[in-house]
């Protein structure tokens, strides 16, 4: 599902930053100009492996498609554990060229040991795992020294030829404290600058001269704090400043982003007139239209046609990172990236007379990245919105998966802002959120326990909503991946699989079910005339987060709300009775509930039932302790035992 278009630029990854020849009004690094290690303030160097002396990003735009980024980064490595801080990578592609890249190594007192030579740089390809081809590469430098402490000074410049993303700057961008950091943005008056600050950072100093405006932010003495476990992604845990233009141009295609409407219009212009179909495909659409009883049926038929006849392959070259390939490209090859496949689906629906709109989206686990008040390129993916006028409902379609059911977009696309691209009327719209009961997993099974402790279990598990996505990927997984899944997902300690029907997962419906039969040769421990076992066979929590004194960030406890229900019936050996059972556990919290019972039924079966519902997958920081206690109680309950004794 992570099929990204390259709308994210490396700014969001490359957390490095800032300025060289500074204009008079911008403050300078106040520390020791020689970077002697001894000059680092003690509150920063105490306990640190390395200290970032300077983290400076200087960006100057000269035209909508022209600009230069200058980075100055100075790092003092205090001990061997901090050596990785002496490395830096700079990515480039056809829109950003490395103009210069220099580095030097200084000793503890700031005397130059050597300049870094050209042959110490590595030049690597950056083709990502999901791509066939991309034109991005990186230059990597790793500077080390054997006498501590030492300091590495990096300076590089990037020339931009085509600009869509202006910098995002993180004052604290690595696992080291920062002595001094600065972001400087300079742009001509004709290119108004917009910015968005996340976290605790002051307003910029603004200066103007006859031609340009200069914005600068400066930080001093930022201590490093570890990211909080179970927290939001790293970028959300540290302050940042994002900057965006009003006008931009990339690959010769200019646009505005001072409103969502304007930015959507740019994508609309970029992707228009790319929908011509071949007569064969037109005929296929006509046939589907003929056969469909309703618009919804027709959309479904076309969606499934797309799934059958295409697959996801990313090729990203130049403007191809933004502009979709036309429909013919997909028809000829049977593949495309998210833009091309969505464009093709759009074209098919258009042919069938169904209105639809591409929706730019940030596809990732965490739903909260897009800042609605800051129109800019914040997306990495595109899906399709289909408003069905007749029934007044809206269908969202993910074009890059060959297996997901119609109308399902998955956890990475739901519950977040999407920019719906509509000629003259693009706007931010929220994709639907799924409730816990939509993402369910219901398991029913029976287990027969023998006097020697061996057992056999037969279970059927039904999955819905987002819970079925991970199961669908198993349908096409290799035998080893499936085995690995059973091993980890069922959490059974020692088993032999007797039967499992993965083909059952291939069905394209809103629910899939997986029957599994396993032999458990040493299920119960036998002690004299007793048998002891853990009745929770398949669904188990194992870890409890460590206590935290002052939780700052929200908790991300799962990717989506969900509910799990397990019901297992145990047939116990003749002549045995239950000697001890775990008491029932019922937990009710604001965010969810848990219930576990083990009981002997009237028919003499031992019935284990467990329900875990997580209603809210993201909780405020103040809920940390109650979540921790909840998790501890669940882990304890999940390990509950049953003791049988022979009569």
């Amino acid at each position: 599902m992570n099929r990204y278009i390259r709308i994210i630029s490396g700014w969001l990854f490359l957390l490095s930053l800032s300025a060289f020849p500074l204009r008079a009004q911008v403050t300078q690094y106040p520390g020791d100009p020689k970077f002697a290690a001894g000059a680092i303030p003690a509150h920063l160097s105490d306990g640190a492996d390395a200290v970032v002396r300077i983290n400076q990003l200087h960006f100057e735009a000269t035209a909508p498609d022209r600009g230069r980024t200058r980075i100055r980064r100075v790092v003092t490595v205090l001990k061997p554990e901090g050596r990785d801080h002496g490395s830096l990578s700079v990515w480039y592609d056809s829109f950003r060229r490395i103009r210069s890249f220099n580095a030097e190594l200084l000793d503890a007192s700031g005397n130059r040991v050597r300049r870094i030579r050209n042959n110490e740089f590595q030049d690597l390809s950056l083709i990502s795992g999901y791509s066939l081809y991309e034109d991005s590469r990186e230059r990597v430098l790793d500077v080390r020294h054997d006498a501590y402490p030492y300091t590495v000074v990096f300076e590089y410049e990037i020339d931009h030829r085509g600009l869509i993303n202006w910098p995002t700057w993180y004052p604290l961008d690595s696992e080291a404290p920062v002595e001094w950091g600065q972001l400087v943005i300079i742009a001509p008056h004709t290119l108004p600058v917009r910015h968005h600050v996340r976290g605790d950072l002051s307003d910029p100093d603004i200066a103007r001269d006859g031609r340009t405006m200069t914005y600068s932010w400066t930080v001093n003495g930022v201590e490093y704090e570890k990211p909080e476990p179970l927290g939001p992604p790293m970028w959300a845990q540290y302050p940042s400043i994002s900057v965006a233009p009003t006008q931009f141009e990339i690959g010769g295609r200019s646009g505005r982003m001072d409103s969502w409407e304007a930015f959507g219009q740019w994508y609309h212009e970029l992707s228009r007139d790319r929908s011509a179909l071949t007569p064969e495909v037109q005929a296929a659409v006509a046939e589907m239209k003929e056969a469909a009883d309703s618009d919804r049926d027709l959309v479904r038929a076309i969606y499934e046609f797309l799934q059958r006849s295409t697959r996801y392959v990313n090729v990203s070259l130049g403007i191809g990172g933004w502009q979709p390939f036309d429909a013919k490209y997909v028809i000829d090859r049977g593949y495309g990236d998210c833009k091309a496949l969505t464009n093709y689906l759009h074209a098919l629906l258009h042919e069938a007379g169904i209105e639809a709109f591409p929706a730019l989206i940030r596809s990732e686990r965490y739903p909260g990245r897009t800042i609605p008040s800051f129109p800019s390129n914040q997306f990495n993916h595109v899906i399709l919105m289909v408003p069905l006028a007749a029934t007044a409902d809206t269908v969202w379609l993910e074009a890059t998966s060959q297996t997901i059911p119609f109308g399902h977009v998955g956890a990475a696309n739901e519950n977040r802002w999407a920019l719906v691209v509509r000629d003259g009327g693009s706007e931010l719209v929220r994709t639907p959120a799924s409730a816990a009961e939509r993402n369910s997993q219901f398991r029913e099974g029976s287990v027969t326990v023998h006097p020697d402790g061996a057992a056999e279990a037969a279970m059927v598990t039904r999955y819905q909503g987002n819970q079925q996505d991970r199961m669908r990927s198993l349908a096409t997984a290799s035998a080893t991946d499936r085995d690995r899944w059973i091993h980890s997902a069922l959490g059974i300690r020692d088993y032999r699989i007797s039967r499992v029907d993965f083909d059952a997962l291939l069905i394209r419906s809103d629910e899939v079910s997986l029957p599994v039969e396993v032999a458990l040769p040493r299920f119960a421990s036998r002690m004299g005339n007793r048998l002891v076992f853990e009745p929770n066979l398949a669904e188990r929590w194992r870890t409890v987060p460590a206590r935290a004194e002052h939780r700052k960030h929200e908790l991300v406890i799962s990717s989506y709300p969900y509910i799990d229900h397990d019901r297992l019936e145990y047939r116990i050996p003749d002549g045995y009775r239950v000697e001890a059972l775990a008491p029932p556990v019922i937990l009710d919290a604001d965010f969810g509930r848990f219930e576990m019972t083990v009981d002997v039924s009237e028919s003499g079966l031992l019935v284990f039932e467990r329900t875990l519902e997580i209603r809210d997958s993201i909780l405020p920081a103040s809920s940390f302790e109650s979540y921790r206690e909840f998790a501890e109680a669940v882990v304890r309950a999940d390990a509950a035992r049953v003791v049988l004794v022979a009569e």
Binding site: P80, R83, R114, E120, Q122, D123, L124, S125, I127, L132, Y133, D142, R144, D146, R308, S309, R311, V313, D332, R333, G334, Y335, Q402, T403, G453, A475, T476, A477, S478, A479, T480, D481, D483, H487, R493, D494, R496, P521, R522, S525, R526, M527, G528, N529, R530, V532, E534, R542, V544, E579, A580, L581, A582, E632, V635, R636, A639, A640, R641, V643
Partner: protein, 684 residues
């Protein structure tokens, strides 16, 4: 993982498909020189309709594709350039096989003569009984520079769906005329026909090595002929119905076991017609190495190396102290970059020293050169790591090796040392380096020596604890890790914090466990065992039900699951090292409780005592003592031991949840009942 593997000059040229580890399913029908229904080689574009109609492959139900044909033809072209023409045809059985159509051909290119071009591809689909062809577009073939002299050519076949057949071909040219590529017949998917033809000119002589479970060398057909380099003999190998080979847990690599052919150049014909050996003796090989500026012996002459060595050994009085001081410096100050690199490194010792990081081979050669400079007798010892394949000692071919160790004479003995890690004592070799034999690079006396592992995974856990009436457990625990266990403990602590090490490793699986007065000894002294001592408390540890209490004495380091999951095994089981783990627990029961039932004692071993597990308990009064031990006598076991070992693990997993059944004595039952009710009222 690969569908084919070619290599030249020791570096792999392989087709990388998406990583996929598949379970193994062995079936093999090997026919040689039999008539088959298929034409060999198949004509480009001539795809039988039966193959398109194929929907499953009963012989291997886990297969996602069938490699219908994999053909290679190696020859010297008119200008004498070594050339490979490759033709691959694949049937896609399931959707899971589609990603294999994303092809990346990675190859080594030390000059611009090394190329892959003329890539052609076609996909065939059956559409209403009609065969529909779709060509791979030329502009959809991409080249990529990977750095380190490696390049790749990437493309994906169009219109690939479950049921499709696609084929592609290309021409590859190599840098060196004599370095024949190797050929791999087997992949992680079944192959119907693998067909390899190579024209070997008489001017070159080769030694042919084969890998895999059948002797392929004997399957060759030979045809004499003439070509650009004069007369040649064409060798043809053809294998049919080759089963998939998929990785299994505890298996270092499949490449050792894949059916393959390698060609080692042994000699060439000189202008005067006499055959000149490339390296005909181990003596010559050693001499060539010693003369190389970036290899071992020469390095000690650099001024930077000499002065550093002097500085490091200053004040050290014995050779063993000097070796230790040099090792400490190298392992702590030169980081291993995660690569092995070539045996003859690209960089000199001083360059590696300056960069403070290097490949394992660069680091160990630097270590050797510092030893030389300090006047200590040391040799480079070459080995082939366990994932690199066995060395054939009769062939003096250096590319059989991929790893350099230091052979050091100290205190009258000869030891093998490694300096790539600052958490591993120098005489404990990295797991991969624990191969059978190493070759000592000494031109006066090149020789083979056995590599005897100097350590095991030794761990000892000793626990003394008091069980409380509410089921809580409180006591003292000591974790003593020696040798490889100490290496892993140090690495775990180094990778996180002591606190995380305790909660995530030592307390793994325990809910609400707390510790106090934690002491960890010898974290920095690599020669000493790592000892962790602490007081601990686990609330609600035992299950309490009325008068009964159920307690598991295996508090720490319980084996949660059986790592050997597959029912069968066809390849050696590689556990890395031998193990010796003991666990001893003494527990005092709460006042008035007695043992009603106890787990049976276990004493189990697999044939030949290669692995042993014992567990037994004694109880008297209010004390229980449980002891268990797991010992393996060999790091690598033949697949024949697999069912026994799997069963042994199964018993260990089960023993880890054994319970002692306790009951409150009858003596003060009345008091207890009262206490019990109030306690439970409070506790809930």
């Amino acid at each position: 993982m690969f569908t084919g593997s070619l290599s030249q000059g020791g570096e792999s040229v392989y087709m990388v498909f998406r990583m996929r580890f598949l379970s193994c399913c062995l079936f093999l029908v090997l026919f040689v020189h039999t008539t088959t229904a298929q034409q060999v080689p198949p004509r480009w574009g001539d795809v039988p309709i039966e193959d398109l109609e194929l929907t499953s492959f009963p012989a291997d139900t886990a297969a996602t594709v069938i490699i219908l044909y994999d053909g290679g033809e190696v020859y010297h072209d008119v200008s004498g350039i070594l050339t490979l023409d490759r033709h691959v045809r694949v049937k896609v059985l399931t959707e899971a096989g589609i990603d294999r159509a994303n092809v990346s051909l990675v190859f080594r290119a030390t000059s611009r003569h090394a190329t892959i071009n003329n890539v052609r591809g076609v996909t065939y689909n059956l559409d209403d009984g009609k065969v529909e062809r779709t060509n791979l577009e030329r502009r959809a073939v991409f080249s990529e520079d990977l750095g380190h002299d490696m390049k790749s050519v990437r493309f994906t076949l169009p219109q690939v769906r479950a049921g499709s057949i696609y084929e592609f071909r290309y021409r590859q040219r190599f840098d060196f005329a004599h370095a024949l590529p190797s050929w791999t017949f087997q992949t992680d998917e079944p192959t119907r026909i693998s067909h390899f033809r190579v024209r070997i000119p008489d001017v070159f002589h080769y030694v042919t090595q084969t890998r895999g479970f059948v002797e392929i060398g004997s399957l060759s057909e030979r045809r004499p002929g003439t070509g650009p380099l004069g007369s040649h003999v064409e060798h043809i190998w053809m294998l049919e119905n080759i089963p998939a080979l998929r990785t299994e847990p505890f298996m270092t690599t499949t490449s050792d076991y894949l059916l393959s052919l390698r060609f080692q150049p042994s000699a060439y014909r000189r202008g005067d017609g006499r055959m000149q050996p490339f390296l005909n003796t181990w003596e010559a090989a050693a001499e060539a190495l010693e003369k190389d500026a970036n290899f071992g012996a020469q390095l000690g002459r650099h001024r930077a190396i000499r002065s550093l060595a002097e500085e490091l050994v200053a004040g050290q009085t014995t050779d063993s102290e000097r070796v230790a001081a040099i090792h400490r410096h190298v392992s702590r100050n030169v980081d291993w970059d995660g690569r092995r690199g070539r045996i003859i490194p690209d960089r000199s010792g001083p360059e590696v020293l300056r960069a403070s990081s290097g490949t394992s081979n660069e680091i160990n050669l630097l270590f050797i050169s510092l030893l030389h400079a300090a006047g200590i007798e040391a040799d480079a010892v070459l080995i082939s790591t366990r994932d690199h394949g066995a060395v054939v000692e009769m062939y003096p071919m250096l590319d059989q090796f991929n790893y350099v160790l230091a052979g050091v004479r100290v205190d009258g003995g000869y030891v093998l040392l490694d300096a790539t890690s600052d958490v591993r004592p120098m005489n404990l070799l990295p797991m991969a380096a624990l191969s059978q034999r190493g070759w000592v690079v000494d031109s006066k006396q090149p020789r083979w020596i056995d590599i005897n592992p100097q350590g095991k995974f030794r761990r000892q856990i000793v626990v003394t604890a008091q069980l409380d009436e509410d089921g809580s457990l409180e006591g003292d625990a000591m974790f003593l890790s020696r040798e490889y266990a100490a290496v892993s403990a140090r690495a775990a602590i180094k990778g996180s914090t002591v606190e995380e090490y305790v909660t995530e490793t030592l307390f793994k699986g325990l809910v609400g466990a707390e510790h106090a007065s934690l002491e960890i000894e010898n974290l920095d002294d690599l020669e000493m065992p790592v000892a962790a001592r602490m007081k601990f408390r686990v609330p609600n540890y035992a299950m309490v039900a009325g008068d009964m209490m159920y307690v598991n004495l295996r508090v720490f380091n319980r084996l949660e699951t059986n790592p050997l999951r597959l029912p069968e095994r066809s390849f050696p089981i590689d556990m890395g090292y031998e193990s010796d783990e003991t666990y001893a627990m003494t527990i005092t029961l709460p006042e008035g409780y007695e043992v009603v039932d106890a787990p049976a004692s276990i004493a189990l071993h697999i044939p030949g005592q290669k692995a042993v597990f014992q567990q037994e308990a004694k109880y008297f009064g209010n004390t229980i003592i449980q002891q268990s031990r797991f010992v393996t006598a060999e790091a690598v076991l033949d697949p024949g031991f697999y069912p026994y070992l799997r069963e042994l693990y199964s018993v260990m997993v089960s023993a880890g949840s054994d319970q002692f059944i306790l009951r409150r004595g009858m003596v003060d039952a009345a008091d207890v009942l009262m206490d019990d009710s109030t306690e439970r009222g409070d506790g809930r």
